[in-house]
């Protein structure tokens, strides 16, 4: 399969080079919000939304910056865009689905410091994706993030019933689980070749 094709970009961002498990982006929410399956799913979807909007916005900004030869302002403008996108998504969710808004609570503003989102914006620029490729990339990254969060939360719910040694309980155990998940995802390498 051609490495420029939309299907490859989506698969690559979603499973083969999963943002969380292979590129280590968005680890904080991955460890912090993966205790329950339904919160994890909601968080994943909110991140997916923000990613799509900020990816489109970052694409526009990059065009403007390039025409002024001012790429050194990239980082500052991207982070400003992401912060405002999060605000925007927050307002939209608040207006159309107050129940979802309450359920997401504190996690919404925290999305600003989710490095997966800034990562999408930076990678799509450095890989010189076109507009549609950028959107597909953001979609794949968001889906991959949701998938990782969903799997992790399922495993953690199960491990609640286990009785591990006291020392390993908590984050150390979660990291070991994540390590095994990450190795399992390595099995996807070669997919699409």
């Amino acid at each position: 399969m051609n490495t420029d094709s939309h299907a490859f970009i989506f698969l690559s961002a979603c499973v083969v080079n999963n943002f969380v498990l292979a590129s280590f982006l968005g680890i904080c929410p991955f460890l912090g919000v993966s205790k329950k399956v339904d919160t994890a799913l909601r968080m994943g979807i909110a991140v997916l939304l923000v990613m799509l909007v900020s990816s489109a916005a970052a694409f526009g900004i990059n065009l403007v910056l390039q025409s002024f030869d001012a790429e050194y302002l990239q980082l500052v403008s991207y982070i400003a865009v992401i912060a405002s996108t999060v605000q925007l998504v927050e307002m939209i969710i608040k207006k159309f689905s107050p129940s979802l808004f309450r359920a997401l609570g504190i996690f919404l503003p925290l999305i600003t410091t989710n490095c997966a989102i800034l990562g999408v914006a930076l990678f799509q620029t450095s890989r010189e994706y076109s507009f549609s490729q950028s959107l597909v990339f953001a979609l794949g990254a968001g889906a991959g993030f949701t998938l990782a969060l969903w799997l992790m939360s399922g495993l953690r719910e199960e491990s609640e019933f286990a009785d591990p040694p006291k020392l390993i309980k908590g984050t150390a155990l979660s990291l070991m689980i994540a390590g095994i998940l990450s190795m399992a995802f390595m099995g996807f390498a070669g997919l699409g070749a």
């Binding site: 490495t3 083969v16 050194y72 302002l73 500052v76 450095s126 010189e128 390498a189 699409g192």
Partner: protein, 209 residues
């Protein structure tokens, strides 16, 4: 009225802050840019010499579609290449910069091209973030790099499974790094296709000079 003063109270510090941050970024950009540019050029020049050691007077040339000009750095939206002379002082050796999507991220390579024989005679991976232990072998695996000591580009560069190379235009891939190997083949093939007419024009213009 109250509304305006309160928004001013919030807006003014933010505006000052934005000015300070803009100033800091621009000043540090201007201060470090010459050093960064010089280092990049040095690395590029050294790598180019490394790719075709036998070429003489290697120099960077950029083409905007109509004219060829000597340049000091790669220019965006232009076709840039290093041109070098062979022992008969004809411009026959070229070092080209090519990039494309690999398995993990962008792969950037330099390769040496012998135009008269339409053969790749040198190769160097400038940048890759391929999987450590598997895909990153494209940069240093000796058997893989041997492919590029003499690689015919006619009829068409092809990547085959490890150990199955039978023709001079085939690249012996690396087991466990199939996607990365195929990506290298794609990158080289499309770059050769794109640059061949440009290089031929350049060679004709400078014939006998």
């Amino acid at each position: 009225m109250n509304n305006i003063t309160s928004s001013l109270k919030i807006g003014l510090p933010l505006a000052i802050l934005a000015a300070i941050s803009g100033l800091l970024i621009v000043v540090s950009h201007l201060a470090t840019e010459p050093t960064i540019k010089a280092a990049q050029q040095r690395i590029l020049q050294e790598s180019a010499v490394q790719v075709i050691p036998q070429a003489q007077n290697l120099q960077l040339i950029c083409s905007d579609g109509t004219n060829f000009k000597a340049a000091t750095d790669f220019i965006r939206d232009q076709d840039c290449f290093f041109a070098g002379q062979d022992s008969a002082e004809s411009f026959n050796y070229f070092v080209l910069n090519a990039q494309g999507q690999g398995f993990a991220d962008k792969i950037q390579v330099l390769y040496g091209y012998d135009l008269n024989r339409a053969t790749i005679i040198g190769f160097l991976v400038l940048e890759s973030k391929e999987t450590p232990g598997l895909g990153d072998k494209i940069a240093f695996d000796p058997a893989f790099l041997d492919n590029f000591k003499q690689l015919a580009t006619q009829p068409k560069i092809e990547v085959v499974k490890q150990g199955q190379k039978t023709a001079p235009h085939q690249i012996d891939g690396i087991t466990g790094a199939t996607i990365s190997s195929v990506a290298i083949g794609d990158i080289l093939r499309s770059s050769v296709e794109h640059f061949t007419p440009i290089l031929q024009e350049f060679q004709e213009l400078n014939h006998g000079k």
